[in-house]
């Protein structure tokens, strides 16, 4: 088990390294010279050469990639070309906002999805079950950008219940939550359907086991069987799909951050790309990939703990 965990973490680190390196090469190969972008109107050949040397852009590509990886490992993500601040500082401003958003979305998805799935399983094949089934498929299918825009149209512009813009960093915890609620729902709603379906499926499986049948035979109240035993077992698989979930939600978060002008990795990325501010775009992709890899690694390890068969197949 420990060996598997170590192997999985090692693989995660390797994949992250490869992901950063390939993106670094891709971005450097792009038209538009970073030194000119950095210097703007002052881009004389002499200054450009000096900057290129300072940034190590005159070195062969493998050396550049190696140097970049080394400095990343030392916690140095380079300097923002426009604001001249360390990229790490910029990330420190934006990353917590995205994590907040993802965390709140997962929470919302779980708080709504688990009960729905549970009820659907208990009332299997009822009208309610079918409605939940249809709803689950439907919310998964609707693109996040639409949910974000409609949320904005109805709840922010129309009803004025929640702010339309920003993250409310300066307004204390209540301000943060007030700004968070609509974006978090927009990101989390698709996942509600997913979780509901998973919980329903595993709940049905658990309810048909001998264990539960015995409990019934012994006259334990149905409520207790469902909530004490069955649900606890049935929820486990939902934790393990968090890896996929974070990836999907991060995509939704980009749209939500842009639509709600909310600081975060997605918005940062979007703006950095427009500005050809490559250290920031690299840093933002790095942060996003890091979150994703951590999430998939954790979910793989959880899977292995919960279901040892998983170890053998390696999938």
């Amino acid at each position: 088990m420990l060996a598997y965990c170590l192997k999985r973490i090692g693989l995660g680190v390797l994949v992250l390294m490869l992901a950063i390196s390939s993106l670094y090469i891709l971005i450097q190969a792009a038209p538009g010279d970073p030194a000119s972008a950095m210097l703007g109107p002052r881009a004389t050949p002499a200054l450009k050469a000096a900057i290129s040397e300072k940034l190590g852009l005159d070195q062969p590509m493998p050396v550049q990639v190696f140097n970049y990886l080394i400095s990343v490992l030392q916690g140095d993500l380079g300097t923002d070309l426009k604001s001249k601040q360390p990229v790490l500082n910029t990330l420190k401003i934006h990353l917590p906002r995205t994590l907040e958003l993802l965390g709140a979305s997962v929470l919302i998805a779980a708080l709504i999805g688990i009960p729905l799935g549970c009820i659907a399983a208990v009332r299997r094949n009822s009208l309610f079950d079918r409605a939940i089934g249809l709803l689950s498929v439907s919310v998964i299918a609707v693109p996040a950008v639409i949910i974000a825009i409609f949320g904005m149209l109805v709840f922010a512009v129309g009803l004025g219940w929640v702010p339309a813009i920003g993250a409310g960093e300066e307004e204390g915890i209540l301000g943060l939550l007030h700004h968070l609620i609509l974006p978090a729902i927009a990101v989390g709603i698709g996942w509600v359907g997913y979780i509901a379906r998973l919980v329903r499926a595993s709940m049905i499986e658990v309810l048909s086991t001998n264990y539960v049948r015995n409990a019934r035979a012994f006259g334990l109240p149905e409520r207790q069987i469902i909530y004490r035993y069955a649900l606890r077992i049935a929820v486990a698989p939902t934790i393990t799909v968090i890896g996929i979930g974070v990836g999907v939600m991060m995509g939704s978060a980009v749209f939500v951050e842009i639509v709600f002008a909310r600081p975060g990795i997605g918005k940062l990325m979007y703006e950095a790309v427009l500005l050809r501010n490559y250290p920031v775009s690299l840093g933002a992709v790095l942060a996003a990939s890091f979150i994703l890899i951590v999430a998939t690694t954790i979910s793989d390890i959880l899977n292995a703990i919960i279901d040892p068969r998983f170890l053998e197949s390696g999938e």
Partner: protein, 292 residues
Amino acid sequence: MSVSDTNLQTTRGAFLDGFLRLMSDPMGAVGVVLVILLVLSAVFAGVLSPYDPAAIDVPSKLQAPSWSHWLGTDQLGRDVLSRALYGGQIALSVALISTAMAVGLGVILGMIAGFGPKWLDNPIVLAFDTVRAYPVIILALAVGPIFGAGLNTVIGILVVTSVPYYGRIVRTSVISASKADYVEALMAMGMSRARILARHILPNIIGPILILASMDIPVFIAAEAGLSFLGVGVKPPQSSWGLILDDGYKFIRQTYWLVIAGSVPLITATLGFTFLGEALRDTFDPKLRRGV
């Protein structure tokens, strides 16, 4: 994942039978109808559109729906219905081309990894994992402007990011299929690996892959709209549901019709294809259900 024998190359009777089973599932029937409507409207966009989708008529800008403009007009006075119909062409072609290419490449790479030379397996899997380490939209944002916004870039990004998904599934199926006795027997008889793959393994695994692919079409449609919304996808004067949505977002304080006009076809398309994909899977290969 076990090998399914319900591949799609069966006789005409079986196909009809499958279709009837699909239509007997309400979700499947709705999906089939929506998808057929969409395909027809996209194919005949030129005939159905009441106006040239690029024709500007500033005096009648930002109108609400009326008899002359069923979905109203945008900020340049263009007919939104016509733009939505042409947007459907773009959405469907992006989705179909991307899916075909992703499945094709995924199958080839997955088979090489699973049944090709042993030393190629690990690098291919590592490459798959590396690509999967990027969140799709974030990668698209980072890479899109490098290659310039446009249809080809959108398709390229969608293909690259979804190949690993198919590749890994194919690889796993190929590995388990190759352990079957008859494969070992064929190899012992001296049949080449490529021939075994093409003649015996591929037909067995392609069915489930195609079903999974049908479930990816709505994801691709949504991605094209999303990227166009962000300005790294389709560019004007071409039309796209994402562009209509973008206009709608910008003018959200002036009119909500644009947002509706952009999202209704998009939701219809993603729902239609999702329903169809779900029903296809339930009808032909229920085992896939747990895999998701």
